[in-house]
């Protein structure tokens, strides 16, 4: 059985060190949130998890590190945040960046329990909800959409329209349905607004992928690949 190595940023002292000892995992301590320093510590079969002390780092650095770890090709396992109480508010809308958190002053047995629990569950952890369709990928937690690996710069309504269509592939929606389901509020332009947004989305998808949104003559639009269109 291999030994779990858990990344620990920026230090591993006091109750945190104790929790590691109790759990029986090895800390790999990176003094800074720099990714190359972290990579140098990485064992060959990777980290099993990460404990990031957001109370001991500038908060934005801690968040940015979490994001970078999430975006790495190679995962780091569950991320546990250590926080000061006043930082709790800042977690809003960043829930996807970490798996668990502990508020200081740290209780050794609580931290150890969470660490063990998270490591045990690792592997069947839920990842951020995504829509994957052919070359299109949408991360519903970060609101980022990419096509063939290229990130798309979408406005809010473009994003919402694409999400709605891609969530229901190969279903045909009338303009009126799209208006009420996606817009559903004050806007100018009636059903042609949908046409305008589809046109914009196709432009942003680029020529090669514009066909992902198909016009169904005298009905409306549907999302799907060409192959599915012929069946």
């Amino acid at each position: 059985m291999s030994i779990d190595v858990v990344l620990c940023v920026p230090s591993c002292e006091g109750p945190v060190r104790k929790a590691f000892e109790v759990t029986g995992v090895t800390p790999a301590i990176a003094a800074s949130a720099r990714l190359n320093e972290i990579a140098a510590l990485e064992p060959t079969d990777g980290f099993s998890g990460a404990v990031i002390n957001a109370a001991a780092l500038p908060f934005s650095d801690a968040m940015s590190l979490c994001r970078q770890l999430r975006q790495r090709e190679r995962g780091v396992g569950p991320i546990i945040l250590l926080l000061d109480h006043y930082q709790l508010d800042d977690l809003t809308f960043r829930e996807d960046l970490f798996d668990d958190f502990v508020v200081g002053p740290y209780d050794v047995s609580e931290l150890a329990t969470r660490l063990r629990h998270r490591l045990r569950r690792a592997g069947n952890d839920s990842v951020a909800p995504r829509i994957e369709h052919a070359e299109l990928s949408m991360n519903l937690e970060t609101y980022q959409a990419s096509i063939a690996g290229r990130v798309m710069d979408l406005t809010y309504m473009e994003y919402e329209l694409l999400r709605f269509l891609a969530t229901n592939p190969n279903r045909v929606f009338t303009r009126a349905t799209l208006l009420s389901r996606v817009w559903g509020y004050e806007y100018y332009g009636g059903a042609r607004t949908v046409d305008v947004h589809v046109r914009r989305l196709r432009a942003k998808l680029g020529e090669e992928y514009a066909h992902l949104i198909q016009t169904v003559r005298s009905v409306g639009y549907k999302f799907g690949t060409q192959a599915e269109f012929t069946e």
Partner: protein, 432 residues
Amino acid sequence: MSRMQSQAQYVLRTVEERGVRFVQLWFTDVLGRHKAFHVTPAELEDALDQGMTFDGSAIDGFSRTTESDLLARPDLTTFQLLPWYEPDEGVARVFCDIVNIDGSPFDGCPRQQLRRVLDNARAQGYTFFVAPEMEFFYFTDLDPYAGPVPIDRGSYFDLSPDDTASQLRRQTVLTLEEMGIGVEHAQHEDAPGQHEIDLRYTDALTMADTVMSLRHVVKELARQYGVAASFMPKPLIGVQGSGMHTHLSLWRDEKNAFIGEHTYGLSDLAAKFIAGLLKHAPEITAVTNQWVNSYKRLVPGSEAPVGVEWAHYDAGALVRVPSVKPGRIDSTRVEYRAPDSAANPYLAFAVILAAGLRGVMGNYELPKEGKRTATLPQSLSEALNLMEKSTLMHETLGSHLVEWFLRNKRAEWDGYRSQVTPFELERYLPLL
């Protein structure tokens, strides 16, 4: 979560995920000039939540006697990354409405003026679509003393070897498309250095925002290529100026309400709308053609309208009814040819729509094709006098804005008429 909150969340999260360093809060003054605040991501949440307070007296058309503090309130649906910045120093923009401190709409905000006219049309069941053709020049620089030098010598539809101007125009179109701005086509125009980008229709508010974006993108990319772009209505003597021919259609119950049984496939409503445009054209010209220089474009023989008349083909007509391609009946529209590309698009679209709707409400009768019923004002001064007397303009734009506009523009006119021009020196000095 409310719609506003989820929009704000989308914006804040995108700023964070994409490493955006600055967000530009864009707005427009009464003369259509592009203004911006630059906020850092740290300040953004507050700006989205409460708007940005600023001193309105510093901005043309925003000044008032009583109190001058105003609020710029971002319209989150317009949040967009600007594609010409490097990914690691991302910059995004969002358009703002200007409101009073108590949150009520501010009269001097062109965006809200247009909104008001559009709301009015919507109350009557109409949606207004516009598609402008934007003309402009590429010059080597914009030194007013050296005079403008076009960067190419091409002409209408010329397919020239891949010169700077063609590359630049192509790059501009690609950038616009990346920003979600639909371009119908782009071409070399008649005059040397003159180019045209035709935009695909949208609702009028989106289009006015788009015109502001386009002018910014065209100028920014020209700068990157070491040249300069100008939307001045008539920069060169003897060749045509830069217009903003604007294609218009009204929709009702999701149908193009301009389609009908009349000549050229127009409806009764379209006929009345055109009649309204023609009747009120002289009084709205101060807004669609707002500079001293605008009237140098509106002269005979330069494909710009001079008289008030409508036609199917005549490129010199004020209102044209373009041919509709077979099977494309939904593209039935009318084209209003007076505006120039240096107009304030918000106010221009507002007064054009108001004029057309007057014709519809008042059951105006359409004059015969090609019959000249009036002439357009020949100078800014004449246009301002017509605007001042116009009930339509006061009702559409509100007296605060009209009065300020007249005051500002009369000062411009006074500055102009006290000049002694090269024309006068050449003609009179040796002779008189």
